[in-house]
Amino acid sequence: MTDAAELQRRTAQLLADHPPATTGRTDFLEARFDAGLAWVHYPEGLGGLGAPRSLQAVVDAELEAAGAPDNDPRRIGIGLGMAAPTILKYGTDEQKQRFLRPLWTGEEVWCQLFSEPGAGSDLAALGTRAVREAGGDWVVNGQKVWTSSAHVARWAILIARTDPDVPKHAGITYFLCDMTDPGVEVRPLRQITGEAEFNEVFLTGVRIPDARRLGEVGEGWRVAQTTLNNERVAIGGMRLPREGGMIGPIARTWRERPELRTHDLHQRLLKLWVEAEVARLTGERLRQQLASGQPGPEGAGMKLAFARLNQEISGLEVELRGEEGLLYDDWTMRRPELVDFTGRDAGYRYLRSKGNSIEGGTSEVLLNIVAERVLGLPSEPRTDKDVAWKDLAR
């Protein structure tokens, strides 16, 4: 059993062998992975030690105190949050050995080729086709959309339809797609904020070796559930200090700009401040539950709460700014590598937060999930369950 003391010893050893001051960033991160201190709950040899997940904080605190480089988890969030747990659960040994290390160090950025123009909330209705060649390789044709990081990604997790003659959930297979392959075309998708944080990805005759399939043929939906569940955890599981989220900038504006204050805005601000604080406490409670090995269903709701709060708070801040609220900082089309919800001005935050109730599962779909899986309410009658995908209305 690896305990906190053992992790501290190993962390000290890593720092002694690879002093951050004189070790290159990538070298240090690779050494950390090889020492099993990347994600301590992963198996030995794959960046971990099979230790309790809660002990990661011990390692992180020691390394941060020593000024060790981190792997910029915001930039590689899709790889860390979604691709890695899915590869760990469903990957072959060869796949785990090949992908997890450069994924964790950030040398290889990942993106997620899930959403399609014709299949958004009804993700399982996707139409991108993967057809198996005589030699066993797959040829993929189709279009994906809302792909964060596709323009910087080296690899993608991809779901595609491999059997149109069975019901939609049954005919999907999960692949690891090389973004440098011929036939992969990434085009910026300019959005409401003016910038192009996302992409459209066109797949034309892309060849994927069968060794890059993750899980069994036709099992892609089940594999994707792992990705999607982890996506919601990644979105909701952040640890925030008080005023750490969207409420921070508006609280600062309120304190610094007394001339903007009105009684109506004050009441609305206080209501949202309280709501943001209890949502933060809920996130903290979820984290404590996970750390003590009793995960609760709260995670399902965290994303819903933050989406609504972000929208209401940023909307209030635009109003609070009055005349300035009529202005916008910059409509230039940019290609950010990071998603930054709070770094720009109030108008940007307002517009960008509109996506919070759409991306990663719409709030309406998440409410259904809470109602059915947490509260146990019946699902609505469905007309697509036993119908072959090719016969569905599109």
Binding site: V278, Q288, E298, L375, L377
Partner: protein, 358 residues
């Protein structure tokens, strides 16, 4: 760091209280009792306090209490809130107890711990922590005046009365006139307390800090009662909607209703975090003013909405006297005023985190 979880001991306490309430409290009986002269369930109170020792949770062991904390009292209140139990727990074992703790009134605390005495703080239930409160006249050692809106006074043996000299006095209920008011919340009845030259007896201490501390604990732990109430309303409504068939379907399968319940669940989840944070802060004394103000600013609207949703989604049956949802709604609405409204607590938050009014 704030501990927002429940310990094993707290879960064991919860089970014990829940088992007792399941055995002993049926809604029809509660409804019948509210229309009698004795709205409180004295026998249930005796079991909770005598046999289980719960009246003394906040009282140190050397005074015959349990030496527990607000965290445990909060768990008891969650269960009492679930059942809208007609017992003076919040008023006597929390609010009056805190006032006596502030005054160092050890002999009275011993009596409260053993539950041979039920006490009520003679300050209107609507009073927020830190708000001004009325006091009676003290002249020549005699107290005179009228205090209104005193929760659970009809069940109290001992009243803690603020006087105009700034002191808090312990007055036997038998030496004053306690007149029931017609209360909106039938299960936490209010009364008028009239003192007509009652001997003041010993001064317990300064009323100001004692009342402030008592009301803060009341407000903070009320959030746990509201949590229990909201959770009951949600659970019971989910159960009912799964069972109830209309339009040849289970009503709970309609998305319009599912989304409402999912939204409510989310608010209850947030309320749990807020209520736990308040209980933990009161137990540790750290950040307690802010944690209780945040919890109370959030809790009341959620509890009211939960009860209102329960009524609407139970539809016709929810409007009847026989279904317990009305007890829940009346308690929730009264709780939204008790120990300060959400607005009063938001104003407190504004001061505490430096978000000043214009």
């Amino acid at each position: 760091m704030t501990d927002l979880l429940y310990s094993e001991e707290e879960e064991a306490l919860r089970s014990a209280v829940r088992d007792l309430l399941t055995d002993r409290l049926d809604p029809a009986g509660v409804i019948a009792r509210t229309e009698s002269d004795a709205p409180h369930d004295v026998s249930l109170w005796k079991t909770l306090t005598g046999d289980m020792g719960l009246a003394g949770l906040l009282i140190p062991e050397e005074l015959d209490g349990q030496g527990a904390t607000h965290r445990e009292a909060a768990v008891v209140l969650e269960e009492l809130g679930r059942t809208v139990a007609p017992v003076p727990y919040l008023t006597s074992a929390v609010v009056a107890t805190e006032a006596l703790l502030a005054c160092g009134a050890d002999d009275l605390l011993v009596r409260l711990a053993s539950a041979t005495t039920v006490a009520a703080l003679a300050v209107g239930l609507h009073t927020a922590p830190g708000a001004a409160f009325p006091a009676v006249r003290l002249e020549n050692g005699l107290l005179s005046g009228e205090l209104t809106g005193i929760a659970d006074a009809v069940a109290a043996d001992l009243l803690l009365v603020p006087a105009d000299d700034g002191g808090l006095y312990a007055v036997q209920a038998s030496s004053v006139t306690v007149t029931s008011q017609v209360s909106f919340d039938l299960t936490r009845p209010l009364a008028t307390v009239t003192l007509a030259g009652t001997p003041a007896g010993a001064r317990l201490g300064d009323a100001g800090p004692a009342v402030r501390r008592a009301l803060r604990a009341g407000a903070g732990l009320l959030a746990s009662e509201q949590l229990g109430l909201a959770e009951w309303a949600l659970t019971e409504t989910v159960r009912y909607l799964k069972e109830r068939k209309q339009f040849n379907r289970s009503v709970g399968g309609f998305q319009a209703l599912k989304h409402r319940l999912a939204q409510l669940w989310l608010e209850v989840v947030n309320l749990r975090a807020g209520a736990r944070a308040a209980a933990d802060a009161l137990a540790n004394g750290e950040d307690a003013d802010l944690a209780t103000a945040v919890a109370q600013a959030y809790a009341a609207p959620v509890a009211v909405r939960a009860a209102e949703e329960a009524l609407q989604l139970h539809a016709g049956i929810g409007m009847t006297w026989e279904h317990p949802v009305h007890l829940c709604l009346k308690r929730a609405k009264a709780d939204s005023i008790a120990y300060g409204t959400a607005g009063a607590h938001r104003t407190a938050v504004a001061e505490l985190v430096d978000l000043r009014a214009p």
